[in-house]
């Protein structure tokens, strides 16, 4: 019986894997479109570090900043969701009906799909990263220990789960608003900025930064990337992982109570 119930979610996971395989061009094109902002930022940082040679900017050495810039864009891509549009579509057009009458949890179906898609992308990314590590000899310039690479991997997984939860919670907004697309686009960019996906959060100054640390967003990009860049000390890594886990649980609890309220409002439009 238990096996049976696990089976359907395994199937959902498989759907996600298939999805990632089917739309692989989309994923690669997505990475390519990340190349332009990356180039712009690399030129900016190179110009900045040339103007102030030998110094640290916001406590980052030149190599650390370059590593941050590259990894922030890649990590931002890897943890990005996209299912919020599908959930909102299901709620608006009545696609949710078929899930309500079936013995499957909508939440787990969506999440397993998401994890399926992401595991393929993560696999592709790991291969790419290995190539980069060998090609750029990053390990020597960043003094990147094997421990750190493992911690980075773990924090990246946590970040993925946390971000999935945040955007699941956001997508439930569709119960109360019919046109949520603009909200999604705006929120996506805003959280990307607050997560440190564009520039390191240090550019906002210490005051704003302290406030941001109280939000879940820095733990999706800024935290894992800085494990990689070496800006975060080994001692702080453990604390960060715990905070990631706490935020994930909080988001899950809020989401489940929002779902309970939302589903009462749901009117099942469409056939």
């Amino acid at each position: 019986m238990r096996l049976k119930s696990a089976g359907k979610y395994l199937k959902s996971y498989g759907l996600g894997v298939q999805n990632a395989m089917a739309y692989r061009t989309d994923f690669w094109l997505g990475l390519v479109s990340g190349v332009f902002p990356l180039m712009i930022q690399l030129f900016i940082w190179n110009a900045v570090y040339t103007a102030a040679p030998g110094s640290e900017v916001y406590g980052y050495t030149h190599d650390q900043m370059i590593a941050y810039t590259i990894m922030a864009i890649v990590v931002g891509r890897l943890i990005s969701t996209g299912f919020e549009y599908e959930i909102a579509g299901d709620i608006k057009n009545g696609g949710l009906n078929k899930f309500i009458v079936q013995p499957i949890s909508y939440f787990w179906y969506r999440m397993m799909c998401f994890y399926g898609t992401k595991s393929i992308q993560l696999a592709a990314f790991t291969l790419l990263l290995l190539a980069l590590l060998l090609g750029f000899s990053w390990q020597s310039t960043l003094s990147l220990s094997d421990d750190r690479i493992v911690w980075f991997g773990i924090s990246l997984l946590f970040a993925l789960i946390l971000n999935g939860m945040i955007f699941y919670l956001l997508s439930l907004l569709a119960f109360w608003m019919t046109e949520v697309w603009a909200v999604f686009i705006g929120f996506n960019l805003l959280t990307n900025i607050m997560s440190g996906g564009v520039f390191p959060l240090d550019i906002f100054g210490p005051a704003v930064n302290r406030v941001l640390q109280w939000l879940p967003f820095p733990y999706t990009i800024y935290f894992p990337v800085n494990i990689w860049s070496g800006k975060i000390s080994e001692a702080e890594i453990g604390t960060g992982l715990v905070i990631q886990a706490i935020w994930t649980v909080v988001a899950a609890l809020v989401a489940s109570s929002c779902w309970r309220y939302g589903i009462k409002k749901y009117v099942a439009v469409g056939g």
């Binding site: 479109s33 030129f43 900016i44 110009a47 046109e179 603009a182 909200v183 960019l189 520039f199």
Partner: protein
Amino acid sequence: MYLLREMLKHMRIYGLFVKNCLIAQMEYRMNFVISIAQECVFTFAKLLYVILIYQVGVDINGLSPDHVLLFIGTYMIMTGFYVLFFMDNFYQLSQHIQSGLLDVMMTKPVSLQFMVTLRRINFSFPIPNFIVGTSMVVMAWRRLGLESGPQEIGLFLLLIVCGIVLMYALFLLPMLLSFYIIKTQSLIEITDKFWDFNNMPMGIYSRWIQRIGTFLLPIFVITNFPVLAMMDELDTLASIWVFAVPIVMLLVTRKVWRFCLSKYSSASS
């Protein structure tokens, strides 16, 4: 005489488009407000670069933070014009082709290119861009102590108009691929990201990128040249190019448009 009459007709129709779009957007006021909020986030993302430059506070390739502010301000104003006049139309081109609406548009007694590429005017998105962009330009202009006689401001505005024309031709060109490919989402994304090169002055890029962005895919001409002209840094060749390239690109785009149409076989029945 015929040409003049046609132009007047199209201008009158454009006036009706403006009115129609304004009415349509005012009908859904909540949507309008949310769109402004959404664009505010995008404007903030562009402002990050300004924050960064002032925080670091060093001259970059001979450009002070105030200069950079002038460049980014102009970039924001031009983005405002792009979303005001063109964005909605260009995004919808592939939908028109897929849904067969293009066939209906062909039957109208106006220029098809005019009808397809200028039909929609978006009033919500440009608002944050114009407000923030203009304030930045005015602030930087004052701080740099640039001349602000009617001559300088007139030239600046003239170059902005040239930029708008060039923007139309340059950004329509990749969208014409919609005649051949179905999924244009990533195409749109790449074009948008390419435009963001203007988020920093062209001076920070390598020589090759500067050349490509000036001559091959002249996006730098759109936002960088008006500012360079104000800083008195346009040489003779560049001064000719800034007026010539909009006309050249317009002709190229028109040719490609005609070619695509001649190959077009209606999508739906």
